[in-house]
């Protein structure tokens, strides 16, 4: 079978696992400030893992495409260390705070510039704006089949076979290539990348193309920004926690059983 060309759209975001005490909302500037290093958005990591497994099975080439603000190739090089073959970064002040349609539009332009592809994978939703739209819109713009919430993906004979999570179990669906699939966490975590491998890759000069608006969008007018009218902190979730103390686990279990009796 011919090797397949996969594009994985992966976004860099502030670590969504940061404890909420590390997140502040600047109401005046309408900005969320996260005191944590950037990471690859978790569902995008699932998408990359799915891509690597397909490559291991049928052979192919994986290109990671990332649009963002102050994109750090240190974070994104992890995708190369894990098994991607190429990384393309898209960065431009004109692309800041775009709405989902415009993000999908810029990505579609970049994908057309890349040229030939068989399969596009994205995460089911990003961990910053939690919108879950870009993958689906991108497929619409490119006019290709789209399958969402994949929990496993197989490529075979010019088609993609997906087990898609549905509320009553799963559904097996298929589409011809090229197609876009949004990937869910059931696919499994991105494989472990050792520090040595990562460091080695950081030292090696791998050309990483950086594209901006002049490479992709001739008419900036059509890009729309998110019209954010207000940003506020979430309601306070804290409660007063009564800690159950005890000399031994059994002792604590006794007291906890009493709590269940009292509140149950």
């Amino acid at each position: 079978m011919k090797e397949i060309r996969i594009i994985v759209c992966a976004k860099q975001i502030p670590d969504p696992e940061a404890p909420f005490s590390n997140v502040t909302v600047n109401v005046e500037k309408k900005e969320v400030i996260v005191d944590a290093p950037d990471v690859i958005s978790p569902y995008d990591e699932n998408a990359l893992e799915a891509a690597i497994r397909i490559k291991e099975e049928v052979g192919g080439k994986i290109t990671v495409l990332s649009l963002g603000r102050k994109v750090s190739d240190t974070v994104l090089r992890k995708t190369l260390a894990a098994g991607a073959d190429a990384l393309i970064l898209i960065e431009d002040p004109a692309f800041e705070r775009l709405d989902s349609n415009s993000v999908a539009y810029v990505l579609s332009r970049a994908i057309q510039k890349i040229g030939e592809y068989d399969l596009i994978l994205t995460g089911r939703q990003a961990g910053d704006w939690d919108s879950g739209q870009v993958g689906l819109i991108l497929a619409e713009m490119l006019g290709i089949p789209t399958i969402s919430l994949a929990r496993s993906i197989k490529v075979d004979d010019g088609r993609v076979l997906v087990e898609k999570t549905i509320p009553v179990g799963y559904e097996v669906v298929e589409a011809g290539l090229p197609a876009l699939v949004t990937v869910s966490n059931e696919v499994g975590e991105l494989r472990y990348v050792s520090r040595t491998r990562m460091m080695g890759l950081l030292k090696r000069p791998i050309p990483i193309p950086k594209w901006g608006s002049k490479d992709l969008v001739t008419d900036l007018e059509i890009l729309k920004k998110v019209q954010l009218i207000e940003l506020s902190p979430p309601p306070d979730m804290r409660r007063e926690c009564a800690f159950i103390e005890g000399a031994s686990p059994e002792d604590k279990a006794d007291k906890l059983a009493a709590v269940f009796k009292e509140i149950g």
């Binding site: 005490s21 559904e171 097996v172 966490n185 604590k252």
Partner: protein, 328 residues
Amino acid sequence: MNELLLLVESKEGLPDKTTLELIRGGSDLAKELGIDTSAVVVGHETPSLAESVASYGLKKIYRLEHPMLSGFQPDAWVGALEWLCRQIGPRIFLASHSFVGKEVAPRLACRLKTELTTDCIGLKIDPQDGLLIRTKPIYGGNAIAALKCAGLPQMVTVRKNIFEPMEPVDTRSELVDLVPDLDESIIKVRSLKIVPEEVVELDKAHVVISGGRGVVEKEDFDMLKALAAALNKSSGNVTMVGCSRPVVDKCWLSSDHQVGLTGSIIAPDIYVAVGISGAIQHLVGMIRSKKIIAINTDPGCNMFKVADYGVVEDYKVLIPALVKKLEE
């Protein structure tokens, strides 16, 4: 341009609870704007569904009937809804932030060249320009954003439990039967089979015991199941086992067990978090529980900040002791 259209979803042939919530929220918005509220029922041979929606005070119900619309095939549903929207040009389009809504709404919005805001928890009308002000949590719930977009229809998906479900009223809606213009060529994704699995409906439980990444062995979920069984027996409460996302990542439990932003959003009487640190994406799923009990070895973990009761202990020793005690 003079109606608010909402997408009906059903469960066992009746409008589901989230649809009744949408009807309430939608009707209030429409009233504010002085426009009509209508609903669309998509399907094949589903006359009774439209009939039962007809008693909730909507002006019109569009029944989109077509053999290609039986079951949920996204390509066909998006095609049919696009066809309807082009016919009637709704001013506002609402869908639930459900499995169906999450899939259909972005694609539909793209085809109608309008903008969508997903997972909204608040909607109101800007009196100045009549646009919809959409409130949605971002960064997992760490911040709440209010947004506005131009474009028609004004389109959103709404999180469940945001509005009170609508009650039936005396008047009946007008039923409009339509056969959308669809042909097989729009189906790009073919469904080969549906494999039903045993699923838990966590929102039906009084007590949910969830395990997280701190539960280090798959077999240890048997401990949680034993605790659920013991609580079931001792209190008569319906007790179910849930989990945080890493457990689903490891394929130890199916995704219907997952509590949180991309899992179920629940509010049981008692929620027990075992080995769960309390990431915001998990908290949004369970924070409305009446009582929260956390079991964790790390006294500094976030879950203790939102819990009513906390036990700093290794679950491996605590849970078996607790089960024993409850069974005495």
